[in-house]
Subunit: 811 residues, 2 copies
């Protein structure tokens, strides 16, 4: 490529400026390497090699490829086990065909057993393994630490229970749990790698890897790297960070590669293809006149998606209510899971009702048959039906294909909504996918019956492809439930065909427009039901909140520490709440905000004083608490032009432990908004501080004699964050919301001219946006509610404005 | 779907809480609509219908669809014209085949004429039309207002010159200019729509629409909505904002749909297919053993991409130097364009050197032939060669396919790098695409020759598909030049096949890894060469900058306004610089930051005083400058727990004009980081304030008598932004960089305990990150420089640390 020839040549200008820079540097630092002793040079070289090793271990791409590899292997092995379990299910079922009751027993008991094992294993080993995991990851990526959610124990629990659940053929999926598994693998791999390289201790980096874990989880689940990255970005964060984008791509691509390579090496497949490879015609994928049908499907899927979310919420709330009423039924996690399992496997029992809904097929087999290239309603291919095992399930002597497909869609709809409420690892993505594909197939078969010779275009006969409708339907319904656009991309990668881009995108966009105006997404619903912290979107409907300022909704009752606080004050503050960080002000009169200090630091101060008192000697503080003192930062080369006015009081305390941590992270390209903008050093490390211990300390201190209690606390050994996030008084709600969203803040202090006047946390912001919050944190919107809202909005605003006017005159 | 049945039923809990909320509201506002007079009710109804109309006109999706439609039509019509021009070129060329010199003259003169017209038209109508437009859009989306870049004049100039340039068959593309055209259309459409609906006056919304315009531009250029959205996000912003994501998708999808529908309606095509639809086999797309070849191509393309950027930079700098030396040559824009045009068309003259590089083919024809399904080096299809017009160009009696392809790639490489330096509208994407495809075809043909029977896999014979190599090569080289991953997605949508996802992604990722470590992207290079404001990335190499704090690089010499400033002070401050915003502090002694004020506001104050002095009467201020006064915000319902301490001084001045503006924007969902976080109201509107006028005012004021000059300025009528963006002293460089990146800041004030101590602008931040900036703002890195850097980095850091130690001991 002629690159090497250019290696030696440098641009003249570039050279000049570089030399100038070097000169400048040399002038400031007159010594150079050659003047050092040979011993030191040797040491430098050893460090150099050490650094090379650390560089290699710590290189992003190596980590990302290992992560991709691990996830691909987990996904592949899980698929193998699931196929093994379902094959065994069929084998037992076929074996016991002598008597239908025996067969029924075998069919139901097998599922029941696996389900009970899964529910039991999950609840015993780690209850955090239950559910999808996507809502929790969404919360975790907001910076909220969910205890026990990312441990090895949970990983094991999730993987093993998931295999059993999928093996029991409950209509749930693995995509959601795989997001969780991907994140756990990423975090655990970070922990493992930190044994070799210090940069893995950087929490900002780990947070980034969490996002990558989400992407690689989805990518390895469907062998769809692009869709996986986009989907993980859409569901986990409102603001995408570009560096994560390429990291996610690298890891997900490598993961997908390995995930598709493994079947080839295993001898199952010949080469790398899509997971559900389709072979629709390329020359004339669809007729223009089919576009309205695709668009209509998108709209119907939008309503369907919103209704699914509504149904799920209703079932969950019903179960919660029952829980309160009937404690016996709900005390036992097995019982609920067992009941649902028996109900569903009874209905899908192939010789029973299952014959009307292809109960014999697994989810994968159903999908394969939906994406099939042939037209089922076409009578010419009846011969095909008999020879093909999957298609045979859709044939029934008494009912035609349409009836079976309709029953399938309706039954699976509520079954899936019910199944994902169980306390087991389960995702909603794949079942929705299957239902959408079934619905699409139904529409497609209908179109094929309506236009048996295809829609006529100038003499050519192009038959309708019902499989394509299944593809579009699957993408649209999933989009309606998850509120994402990337399901379209996942669909394309999954089927290995992109000729249907426009129909897919059109229906996905329409489904999103409809369902977003009706309901929150399934993940947001879970977040609300589980009462996880979240930040609602400022939607179109919130325009009347434009003129709210931060001081209108901030918490004014702030507990703070002053520089002249006594031990009694600190004790009182610590006992009155359990905030992780407390603001430090200069004095209660001035309220000038100096920074913030961790609760744990204050506790340490109290403990140290207690020890001093008991032992009478000054114990040495742990090294990490030692800080340098800097009362001036005069090393800055620039000179001040206003020496008299522009040099106000410097904050007297400066942390340097954090600074040192930063320096020892050689590849700190990782810009975690959370980390950088909130500067909460080591908050996780201190979290598992035993609370009982604190209480005893606090009680003990109360028993001190008066003079000691009134002694001023010495903050010299305290790590104070000099730059906690501050909002200026008068900041609008919109701006505050943007700051919290973009920077993933948990809280921010509100200052007016440097004085602390309040604090805003997620809670206050959420209240300000939502107006009010129900007691249980859940407010399910009935379907079509927003249409009703919209109709009266005009009048309502008029009224509000009138009220405002009247209030103004009255006052 | 059973949705309507659920419509009436509401969740009990939801109802309860809603009622509670309503009750609460009613208690506060005892009047209701029914108590109003019928006349008022009527008025309310009229307003209601007005609002409905505004809602319809102002609905996002209508705007987005109109934008997509316009762009699709522009793209389609442009393509029609370009085909017309190139057909005419061929026609003239064929007509004059009696004599080779006449033919040569016809070939060259035609291109020359179009080029000169394009260059002349662009330079006369609007010189801003020159170039790609992507770098400028990148800068504009950072919030920097580039004058005249988004006007109707520039749009006309860009469209017409682009048609001529593409018609003259210069190796340039339309993708870059289409980003610019899309943005212009978006802004102009906003302006047009603002005649009907006020919400289009919202600048935040317009900024969002700018992003959408970029996406739709690319989407309509290649009929690739997904790739378009991703590409526009990758090149325009480091931080993706989710709402723009779906807006871009909607607009780009509709645009692509129309763009592909138009040829169908025009009778050119039968149905919607991909632009360069390929029909490679679906069952066995590629052999596993071909993956290393794809990976190697990715790496080579990474080097090639970096070298292209280097070459482009070198040519531009050379031309700049020549400009300074030979003013005659460069004075005339025509001359340079004409020279390049003659040079290139001479070389591509088909009977001349052009026969060795398929000079006869247009870019589209070259691409079509590269993506061809047949293997050229296979001797069986020679018959095909003769019958196919495109393929015949690659056949030469004296030279085989490999030589012609190599010459094509090498010649086009420098020709493209040269062409995009011309002062005409031109994009680098498509030519790079063609070169990459040519390189891929070369590799593919080589592979096909090496393995004529395909790579053997258990008996089956699957021939190598050289067309697939062309697809991968095109994606990889473009990725190397633009530093994006979405070129892979664009490639898939362009060819209508997704079976090569993994090879494409692998090569794209490798190309990115190589080229990103060698050179900035072509767009960043243009930004640096044009000296547009930019913010460099904090890369891995910047780890030694982790401990730099904001006070180390901020500008301490801040010009500020105090509340007791005199007219003399204001005059002095305004004359000493031309900052758009000035900080307002309480007094020079306290330096407490109260807010910031626009330069234009201060000028208005001075003018008003001057008028008062001249006329002796108090002129009425324009309505928009009137503000309410609020010295207390006691209307907040929450009560303070620390009445004595937590209620510090409120800022005495509060803007409400901005507030009103916010309220009149009914659909202010548009959260522009820029707008919300910088709060610079109406800065654009005041930009075209005549500067000469200001100077005369300022001079006039200097001539005032002493007592008037020493009079204190009354800021009561001044719009003061109470919450300009502030950074707290001690903020680390990393955090500052993140803030600036995420919130798209231009500047931020640095405060220590509420006191203004400095200001940081993009310039200071850039300096701090880059260490130093060459005089001309350009620093081209020679290829492979970073590898050399990396080798010595370890030692260099040791040295730096030693220096630091020695400095410390000395001081």
């Amino acid at each position: 490529m002629g690159v090497d020839g250019e290696d030696q040549s440098q641009l003249e200008q570039g050279n000049h400026t570089k030399d100038a820079g070097r000169l400048h540097r040399d002038r400031r630092h007159p010594t150079s390497l050659s003047e050092l002793s040979p011993c030191h040079q040797c040491g430098v070289r050893v460090t150099h090699f050490q650094r090379l090793f650390v560089t290699l271990v710590g290189a992003d791409w190596i980590f990302l490829m290992i992560l991709g590899f691990i996830m691909a292997v987990i996904s592949f092995v899980m698929d193998l086990f699931v196929i093994l379990f379902t094959d065994a299910h069929r084998w037992i079922y076929d074996l016991s065909d002598s008597h239908v009751f025996l067969q029924y027993f075998a069919w139901v008991a097998y599922s029941l057993l696996l389900m009970c094992f899964a529910a039991g294993f999950a609840s015993i080993v780690s209850p955090q393994a239950a559910g999808s995991g996507i809502p929790e990851m969404k919360t975790a990526l907001r910076g909220v630490v969910l205890p026990e959610y990312l441990t090895f124990r949970t990983l094991v629990s999730k993987v093993i229970s998931l295999i059993c659940v999928l093996g029991s053929e409950l209509p749930v999926g693995k995509e959601g749990p795989f997001v969780h598994i991907g994140s756990m693998c990423a975090i655990l791999l970070c922990k493992f790698m930190s044994l070799f390289s210090g940069i893995y201790k950087n929490k900002a980096r780990n947070m980034e890897m969490l996002t990558v874990g989400c992407a690689v989880g989805i990518g390895c689940c469907f062998a769809s790297p692009i869709g996986g990255v986009l989907f993980s970005m859409e569901i986990t964060s409102r603001y995408f960070v570009a560096p994560n984008y390429w990291r996610g791509f690298l890891s997900a691509t490598f993961g997908s590669l390995i995930f598709r390579l493994l079947p080839v090496w295993h001898g199952e497949e010949e080469t790398l293809t899509a997971l559900y490879a389709t072979k629709y015609r390329l020359d004339f994928p669809f007729d223009l006149q089919e576009l309205p049908a695709f668009a209509a499907m998108g709209i119907v899927c939008g309503f369907g998606g919103a209704f699914f979310v509504y149904l799920y919420g209703k079932i969950t709330l019903f179960v919660k209510k029952q829980k309160a009423m009937n404690s016996f039924l709900m005390k036992n996690v097995f019982l609920y899971s067992a009941l649902v399992s028996v109900l569903i496997s009874t209905l899908t029992f192939p010789p029973g009702f299952g014959q009307f809904m292809a109960g014999k097929l697994t989810q994968r087999e159903s999908l394969l048959s939906f994406f099939d290239n042939r037209t089922w309603s076409n009578h010419c291919i009846v011969a095909d039906f008999d020879s093909d095992d999957y298609l045979a399930a859709w044939k029934h002597p008494q009912a035609n294909v349409f009836i079976i497909l309709t029953i399938f869609v309706l039954m699976k709809f509520w079954m899936s909504a019910l199944s994902i409420t169980l306390p087991i690892p389960c995702g909603s993505f794949v079942p929705i996918f299957v239902i959408g594909a079934g619905f699409g197939r139904l529409v497609g078969e209908g179109m094929a019956t309506l236009f048996p010779e295809g829609i006529n275009t100038e003499g050519h006969i192009y038959h309708i492809v019902p499989g394509a409708y299944a593809v579009v339907g699957a993408a649209a319904l999933t989009a309606g439930v998850t509120h994402t656009l990337s399901t379209g991309v996942i669909m394309m990668e999954l089927t290995g065909q992109i000729s249907y881009t426009l129909p897919i995108l059109i229906s996905v966009i329409l489904a999103n427009m409809v369902s977003q105006s009706l309901q929150p997404s399934i993940y947001d619903t879970v977040i609300r039901i589980k009462k996880l912290p979240y930040l609602p979107l400022l939607r179109w409907g919130h325009r009347e909140k434009c003129n709210i300022r931060v001081e209108d909704f901030m918490e004014r009752d702030v507990r703070y520490v002053t520089l002249n606080s006594t031990y009694r004050d600190i004790n009182r503050i610590l006992r009155s709440g359990n905030l992780k960080m407390l603001p430090v002000v200069k004095s209660a009169e001035s309220m000038l905000l100096l920074g913030s200090v961790e609760r744990a630091q204050l506790l340490a101060l109290l403990k140290q004083r207690a020890q001093d008192r008991r032992g009478g000697l000054v114990p040495s503080m742990p090294c990490s608490y030692r800080v340098h003192f800097q009362t001036s930062t005069e090393e800055s080369p620039s000179t001040s032009a206003h020496p008299d006015s522009s040099k106000p009081l410097k904050p007297v305390l400066k942390k340097s432990a954090v600074e040192e941590e930063e320096i020892t992270n050689p590849y700190d390209s990782g810009i975690s908004l959370k980390k950088l903008c909130c500067s909460r050093p080591d908050i996780d490390a201190l979290q598992d501080y035993p609370d009982t211990d604190d209480d005893t300390i606090l009680q003990e201190i109360e028993e001190w004699e008066e003079p000691l209690l009134d002694e001023q606390v010495n903050f010299n050994n305290c790590k104070i964050d000099p730059a906690p996030f501050q909002l200026v008084e008068g900041t609008l709600l919109h701006k505050t919301h943007t700051m919290f969203s973009v920077l993933n803040l948990d809280y921010a202090y509100v200052t007016g001219i440097g004085r602390l006047i309040g604090v805003v946390s997620l809670k206050e912001l959420r209240k300000a946006i939502e107006g009010f919050l129900p007691a249980d944190g859940v407010r399910l919107r009935p379907v079509l509610a927003s249409f009703r809202d919209r109709g009266v909005r005009g009048a309502r605003i008029e009224t509000a404005e009138l009220h405002k006017l009247l209030d103004h005159q009255a006052s």
